[in-house]
């Protein structure tokens, strides 16, 4: 089962506990619109290459749809559909006035020049400009897309519809981007860790963390947790990992990554594999790399007291059951990594109002939203005696369901 299938499994599990019935389940699971477009471009070599792009819009009952746009050789429609629905539940969990969407282009950006990527992006916008927009569907960065790609989207869309910074979020700071957007997901994870540790009678200060993944999510989470007094005992990226039971010197790790592009080879710890990080002795495990990292085989060996999902779908359903049996709480992706979309929402709000918030305001508003969502989910979990993930889906289904019923079918 891949991460995307896991997402729909968890949705169905919650829908069945709520007993919404087969037809309501289908209504909530079925995407509103699935768009598949041809994106032909001329490569630098003069050769013509045709790429396939997708934009899946899952649900708009709570507002314009929101979700990333990814460039990857393995992008396929089925996966994008599942990820679009995940966005519906995620925006509902943190109560943003959004629905869910996701998009992607099947391509290998590592094999493409910047000019080719720009042509690809602009051509894709040509194909979907009539279904995206500040009140319809607002893309954001995802796998292999960055603020520059978002800038191209804004520019190309604005050629059709007039100046429209709010059509896309995750833009560069110098082009209507928001302060705090880059670190937002990591910061959301920090706030989530604070809340879950509080429930165990612990604080970030003095707690030991293992983080798998040192990309946009893992690296910011590591830095913020370290600044808050947390002890990073293990960290890794695709090239390899590091362990140090008395705590890694995180600023020095950052210096090392800046020079070498990987945490591997850092002198202040012992080398380990990317997967060994998952079974490190610690209080909090943050899988922030790939989907499906935790499965039936390694779940019994996890030594953390809690798991906070930085990545989308890092825990497959079998591992999820193992953790439930072992009494290890899992803070689900749709809550834990919702900081990114939350600050995207702030960016959109600032764009619509033509003003700019300072970083302090961004962070405090983010903290308020994450804390409130966490408390509500923890309350549902306690009163109904269900795991946090199921509680989060139930909260999300309830919100989307109410909007659907109020608006009418």
């Amino acid at each position: 089962m891949n991460a995307a299938e896991g997402a729909s499994y968890y949705f169905r599990k919650a829908a069945r506990i709520m007993d919404v019935g087969e037809r309501i389940e289908t209504l909530l699971a079925t995407p509103l619109r699935e768009v598949k477009v041809q994106v032909p471009i001329e490569l630098d070599s003069g050769e013509i290459r045709t790429f396939i792009g997708y934009r899946i819009q899952h649900d708009n009952s709570r507002g314009p749809m929101k979700g990333g746009l990814r460039y990857h050789p393995e992008v396929d429609q089925e996966e994008v559909v599942a990820l679009a629905s995940l966005m519906t539940w995620k925006t509902a969990v943190v109560n943003l006035p959004y629905g869910g969407a996701k998009g992607g282009i099947t391509c290998d950006p590592a094999q493409m020049s910047v000019k080719e990527l720009e042509r690809l992006t602009r051509k894709f916008v040509d194909q979907v400009q009539d279904i995206i927009g500040p009140t319809q569907d607002i893309p954001a960065p995802d796998v292999n897309t960055n603020p520059q790609v978002m800038a191209w989207i804004m520019d190309q869309y604005s050629k059709y519809h007039g100046h429209s910074p709010a059509v896309v979020t995750g833009k560069p700071l110098d082009l209507y981007g928001s302060k705090g957007r880059e670190a937002a997901t990591g910061r959301g994870i920090l706030y989530t860790c604070r809340e879950i540790l509080r429930q165990l009678g612990l604080t970030i200060k003095g707690a030991r963390f293992a983080i798998q993944g040192f990309g946009n999510v893992g690296s910011h989470a590591a830095r913020l947790i370290y600044d808050d007094g947390g002890i990073l005992v293990a960290v890794s990226d695709v090239h390899g990992g590091l362990k140090n039971s008395s705590g890694l010197d995180v600023p020095a790790v950052f210096e090392h990554v800046k020079r070498h592009g990987t945490v591997k080879g850092f002198g202040g710890g012992t080398a380990c594999t990317h997967d060994e990080v998952l079974t490190a002795d610690c209080e909090v495990l943050i899988p922030a790399a790939l989907g499906g990292a935790l499965h039936a085989k390694n779940a019994p060996e996890v030594r953390a007291r809690v798991i906070v999902e930085g990545a989308n779908g890092p825990t497959d359903p079998e591992a999820d059951e193992v953790f439930e049996r072992r009494g290890i709480p899992v803070v689900p992706d749709i809550l834990a990594n919702a900081g990114g979309v939350t600050v995207s929402y702030f960016e959109w709000v600032q764009n619509l109002q033509h003003l700019s918030w300072d970083e302090e305001r961004i962070n405090s508003e983010l903290e308020k939203i994450m804390k409130e969502a966490f408390e509500r989910i923890a309350h549902i979990g306690r009163t109904r005696k269900i795991p946090l993930r199921t509680a989060a889906y139930i909260l999300a289904i309830g919100r989307v369901g109410k909007a659907t019923v109020l608006r009418g079918i």
Binding site: M18, G21, R23, I24, R376, T383, I394, G401, K402, V405
Partner: protein
């Protein structure tokens, strides 16, 4: 009842439509007059089905057991109607539903065996009756279709209400 009065009553019955007087007389020959008191069962679901009835006068309820063991009323029928026809056409050996007299009633009973014999002889009167019966049954099917659609619509409404109730149950 006098034979001429019986003939007149039969002429009113849809299943005897288009029959000449001699043909009616042929049918009448194989019938027996019977009556039911108010509150009396004419037959019950599961009984052996060996005859059909033409209601000369009176009101009859057709009922069927539901899965909880209660009786569901399928129809209330009156003068000129036919009941128990499934025993003739469908070859059902047991009654698929019960018939309850809700007023005192007079009926004509046509034993299936004797009617089948007429049919086997290609008797025109019997063939005309079967043709009429087919029309009666197709009208009933039509009503049943409408009822089905009504039920489906009713359920959809309930489904949305159910969902609202579920959401209320799960609000925090």
């Amino acid at each position: 009842m006098k034979e001429s009065t019986l003939m007149n009553s039969l002429l009113q019955a849809p299943i005897c439509r288009g029959l000449t007087e001699p043909e009616l007389a042929t049918i009448l020959e194989i019938t027996e007059e019977t009556s039911a008191r108010h509150g009396e069962w004419i037959f019950k679901e599961g009984d052996p089905g060996d005859s059909l009835y033409i209601v000369l006068h009176g009101q009859i309820d057709i009922q069927k057991k539901d899965r909880n063991g209660g009786q569901q009323q399928l129809a209330r029928i009156g003068d000129g109607s036919v009941i128990g026809e499934m025993s003739l056409i469908g070859g059902h050996s047991v009654r698929s539903a019960s018939a309850l007299a809700v007023t005192d009633a007079k009926l004509l009973k046509i034993p299936t065996a004797r009617f089948s014999q007429l049919l086997a002889e290609a008797n025109l009167a019997a063939l005309k009756v079967v043709h009429n019966l087919a029309q009666v049954m197709s009208r009933r099917l039509l009503l049943m279709d409408e009822k089905l659609v009504e039920m489906a619509v009713g359920r959809r409404k309930e489904e949305l209400l159910d969902f609202q109730r579920i959401l209320t149950n799960w609000s925090f």
